[in-house]
Symmetry: C2
Subunit: 437 residues, 2 copies
Amino acid sequence: MIDRREFTGAMAGAIAGAVIGSRSRALESLAPPAVNATRLNAHLKELAAFGANPQGGVSRVAYSDFDRQGRAYVMPLMRAAQLDVRVDMAGNIWGRRAGQSAELTPIVFGSHIDSVPDGGNYDGTVGSLSAIEVAHALAESGTALRHPIEVVIWQNEEGGLFGSRAVSGQLPAAELSSRAWSGKTIADGITFIGGNPERLSEARRSRGDIATYLELHIEQGGTLERDGLNIGVVEGIVGIKQWEVTVAGFQNHAGTTPMDQRHDALLSAARFVEMVNRVVRAEPGRQVGTVGRLQAFPGAPNVIPGRVVCTLELRDLDAAKVDRLYAAIATESKRIAEQNQTTFAFELLHENVPAPSDPAVRALIEESAHALGLTTKHMPSGAGHDAQSMAQLGPMGMIFIPSAGGISHSPKEYSTPEDVARGASVLLGAVLRADAR
Amino acid sequence: MIDRREFTGAMAGAIAGAVIGSRSRALESLAPPAVNATRLNAHLKELAAFGANPQGGVSRVAYSDFDRQGRAYVMPLMRAAQLDVRVDMAGNIWGRRAGQSAELTPIVFGSHIDSVPDGGNYDGTVGSLSAIEVAHALAESGTALRHPIEVVIWQNEEGGLFGSRAVSGQLPAAELSSRAWSGKTIADGITFIGGNPERLSEARRSRGDIATYLELHIEQGGTLERDGLNIGVVEGIVGIKQWEVTVAGFQNHAGTTPMDQRHDALLSAARFVEMVNRVVRAEPGRQVGTVGRLQAFPGAPNVIPGRVVCTLELRDLDAAKVDRLYAAIATESKRIAEQNQTTFAFELLHENVPAPSDPAVRALIEESAHALGLTTKHMPSGAGHDAQSMAQLGPMGMIFIPSAGGISHSPKEYSTPEDVARGASVLLGAVLRADAR
């Protein structure tokens, strides 16, 4: 019997053998598992074809034809990695390989392949294809694990973690009728990708059903690149609150209404956008606040806008800070409203509570990275991820790789093939370490 | 032979006999002409049915089915007023009655019946139906005029004076392919309402073809109501310039991009909206500036806007002031762009040069009002009107009546039946005076 720390060290030595661009190891069944960086990066490129935009990037929004094509592309890859593939009632794709012990719960790892409109080629896909690659590496090296492994491709992450929330039991029925970017309702979308919205409860899993959840993802921010580091060890996923904000003024003729008699909803909305920026930046910390959607109505050049509808989004690891910022914004909005007799109304659209990662899982991710000679940084995830749903069910950890220029949700989103391979290797090491726990 | 001033005074006495709610005078062919206020206000109410919105007001945008229904409603009214009705190649409706002299050019009066989306029941319709009522009053009183009269219902005023510009020769061919609110192109719209875009030149009239042009309209501002006056004598129609403004920033993830690393196009656009308001109000005068349309792209709550498209509109009687304000706004936009490394681009969409009214026509409108015991005020028109196209062809004058609360381009647009009748009576008096010139 060997000490766990020693065992981990020995495994790490093997994993450090992963070579970028190495050939298939299918015949070297007794060699230690290693990710095939060439294969992984080729898959990333191939998947990018589904929904590719002329100017670069993809629009593979959930429940679109491109989304379904992307899903049809990854399922054979999962089978090639010797996984038993099924689609659950929520439309998530699962690929399972049994472990040596019948009693143990699975180690689950994966991500998503849907994108925002006009998005990039790395968000979600790096984690999804790396998860498949890790399973492939384990299979072709003949590595036997104690735990079952399950690779998961979550559906509609970008719209609001719909697939993973169905599994964690955090998807209220009322949201099934809301409309996704594809134009379909969530319910119709789930049917479109092979699920069944009337049998969603069958997709549920319970607390304790998962031994460890791991997710590799691009950072989507510029911290790792700026600091010249390889791997982000995620401390947790920030809480998010989103509101729809309606500014009501008085619609009137733009030519005949003197400047001092206007109740211009867009002027108030403009002051709101600037104020949100000022309030969020007024205190130290990593909190962010965004007005991402804004439209003036009726929207004619010669009509003073009578109504503006926009969104407000606030994020921080500390839910109390989000609430404090919102209170300050609501107070300042009243002051803006008084300036030209307009009104502000806030409706909470969406809320994700902050989800801390598991300290022990963080430690094994860090060990995995250091064993490969990679540098690390502990950091929050400013973006929401399916991992936060999984944190409800068991110990969760996330691995970040650098995003060039900190750019994401954009055609310019990019991570180097080397960083992708490094991330996948850290994921492989973390899976092996999680299995050894 | 009587002195013109005496004649006018005598006529005015007769016109002052117009009684609100008086019965048809069809059988009293020797009585002086007078508008039938009951009939006029009933027509106004009936026309409001075409495109009526549940919350009040109308959406009778040019080239819609409702527009065509409204046109089908007014044509029989014109025939009942003993006018010979035709639709010109631009789609304008003309109703003509011959004068005593074969040499004289016509006195033209009218307005439009199309609306903005979600507009009101008085803009254009008051002037259109009053013009028909004036012709009806002249016909049923058997009043013989020296000049021919022509009542005109202009098409697509709200979209940019398309009908009247076709007649004045100010409609460039390139604009025929632009899209109207109805979704149709201008060319398709003209065909839809009975014109022929390939034979537009046949609708043209030349300088000198029109003896006098008169248009009654609601003020669409709050000046007359605030000052407690009956009639606005329009000094001229302000010049208008409209631009499309594109703000380019950098689209990025709203959760992962720190506040100090953002190039948020919407933040710049918000500062632009506030700055336009400040610059326009910084100098004395009646100039106005409006951002009426604004939309952020891609428009998701969790994406920092990479692009904003909005409009800028500036209006004043003095074209040089409009240019000076634009120069100041362009300079300030550069400063805003530098704050967060965004860019501004301006594209001129539309321009109307200021159109002064004719001093002699102004005088006869004022005489007509005073003869009826009504109070008057000289004022610019902040709104564009078809009268500005007609100012290219001959002496033009406009009559305003009060707008309740100064509200227009809104379901809340309102003028009292009494003010409508007063306006129509002033128009009738002005037509008679113009005939006597």
